[in-house]
């Protein structure tokens, strides 16, 4: 959560006047009743911290505030802002400290399966999962997969292991907003959900030729 704190410093606090002005002036579409003061009051009176899900989670960083107005965020007028947000997120991405990109695909599969962590019913010491299967098809043997993200089946087999390819996937997992300001994918590394070792395991799941993700598709026996 280090980076989060850092970004948060430059941010638009929950009831901050900065947010009121920027967001409201750009969002006439929200209607007069959803003026910022009313919205801030509503947030402040509607939630209570519970377990690990503390109330400060309602305080947005710049990326979250920008992406909370989807119409504006996707508009041509906001192109420069999108680029700036992507660059700020990209600047937080650290490459693997020992130059090794790939860990153990089996541990990667376990992480991809797990949706645990960070809800108010999780313990502080619950190991976080990656939530990947909630949104992606990954290994062809897992039929219970979500479709919010694209299929990652055959990921390495189709793309190879060139430096640029590895970097793009690494950056996507560490900070999904580095290449797509308002991606629906969480920033797993940036937000401290997964550490470097775990991200390597997930990279192996996607790229290791032995990973079922890259198994030769063919008639099943």
């Amino acid at each position: 959560m280090k980076h989060f704190a850092l970004l948060a410093a430059a941010l638009l606090a929950l009831a901050g006047p900065a947010l009121s002005q920027t967001v409201l002036s750009q969002t006439a579409g929200w209607g007069p009743g959803a003026d910022d003061a009313a919205f801030s009051r509503m947030l402040a009176s509607s939630f209570k911290g519970k377990g690990v899900a503390t109330i400060d989670r309602l305080t947005q960083d710049e990326t979250q505030a920008f992406c909370s107005n989807p119409v504006l965020a996707a508009s041509p007028a906001a192109a420069a802002q999108r680029q700036r947000i992507e660059a700020a997120n990209m600047a937080t991405v650290k490459w693997p400290s020992d130059g090794q990109w790939l860990g153990d695909w089996k541990q990667g599969e376990a992480l991809a399966q797990s949706g645990r962590g960070n809800t108010w019913s999780d313990k502080a010491d619950t190991p976080n999962g990656g939530n990947c299967y909630n949104c992606h098809q990954i290994s062809p043997t897992e039929i219970s997969y979500g479709t919010i993200g694209p299929s990652l089946t055959q990921y390495g087999a189709l793309r190879g292991q060139g430096e640029e390819t590895l970097k793009a996937a690494w950056a996507k997992i560490v900070n999904a907003k580095a290449s797509n300001a308002c991606s629906n994918m969480p920033r797993a590394g940036h937000m401290g959900i997964l550490g470097e070792t775990q991200i390597k395991h997930l990279m192996a799941l996607l790229f290791d030729p032995k990973s079922p993700v890259n198994a030769q598709p063919g008639p099943t026996k």
Binding site: G31, A34, N118
Partner: protein
């Protein structure tokens, strides 16, 4: 195809494909298919909750030893039929936009003299909330087959709708999630659970018109407040206060978007 048969189809799909999945998962999937089939054969178990909700509605209780039968749910004191299909709405006596559950708390306080606090603070499986869930089952059942008719005639209703729309898109927390992350695209799912695209009339109707619902996998009757609470949990947000404005605003946004669709309450879900 109605929602129940869509649900059965989904479970059949799971069972057909489950051969390839790990055993533990397969067993769990098959167990819930069995439970779901059984529940449908016996009718919707929500009926039992409707019956106990009706009893709660009619039985004198609280310091004033009064029933809720004079409660005004928007169509006048004591009118239950069709009331749920027109909520949330603005109430002149409280000058608030209220959903069913917040309105029930108002009536429990004014008519019965009960303190709403234990109802607000209890967990969803504790006795005070069991009362709320049963009352929600009963009252929503009295709007089954009624068209959803939520107007934004009052300025506070309009304001609540706008706040709800904004809440729906408000990202936060360690995963950057908003309601829109999971319910903002057409035709997506999480694992095998289909996600309604709530900003569309059809998606809002799918979500709004089928809750409160009996959840077969949990064996529980869930009100809309409970449904929203669990989505906020998955969103990794802090916990919404029961009947808080954020929850009412979201309900207003969904109900108004679903306007004209037919209520199917109480529903039955996996």
């Amino acid at each position: 195809m109605d929602r129940a048969s869509v649900g059965i189809m989904a479970f059949l799909a799971v069972s057909a494909a489950a051969v390839t999945v790990a055993y533990a998962q397969k067993d769990a999937a098959q167990d819930s298919i069995e439970a779901y089939r059984e529940a449908l054969q016996d009718g919707n178990p929500a009926e039992l909750y409707e019956a106990s909700g009706e009893e709660l509605w009619k039985t004198p209780a609280g310091p004033k030893a009064a029933s809720l039968e004079r409660c005004d749910l928007g169509l006048g004191p004591g009118v239950v039929k069709g009331a749920y299909a027109q909520l949330p709405r603005h109430f002149a006596d409280t000058d608030r936009v209220q959903d069913l559950e917040s309105r029930l708390l108002t009536c429990m306080q004014t008519l019965q003299g009960k303190d709403p606090k234990p109802y607000i603070e209890a967990s969803f499986t504790a006795p005070p909330k069991e009362e709320m869930n049963a009352l929600a089952a009963y009252i929503s059942g009295q709007s089954k087959d009624a068209p959803i008719a939520v107007t934004l005639a009052h300025p506070k209703e309009q304001a609540m709708y706008e706040l709800g729309k904004r809440m729906f898109n408000y990202q936060g927390g360690p995963y950057d999630f908003a309601c829109a992350t999971c319910h903002g695209q057409e035709g997506t799912r999480i694992r095998l659970q289909e996600l309604p695209y709530i900003p569309s009339a059809k998606g809002a109707a799918a979500g709004w018109s089928s809750w409160p619902a009996y959840r077969v996998s949990a064996g529980q009757m869930w009100s809309m407040q409970w449904r929203l609470n669990d989505c906020f949990r998955q969103q990794r947000f802090p916990e919404p206060v029961y009947t808080s404005d954020a929850t009412i605003a979201l309900s207003m946004y969904m109900a108004a978007t679903a306007n004209g669709a037919t209520m199917k309450t109480p529903g039955i879900k996996r």
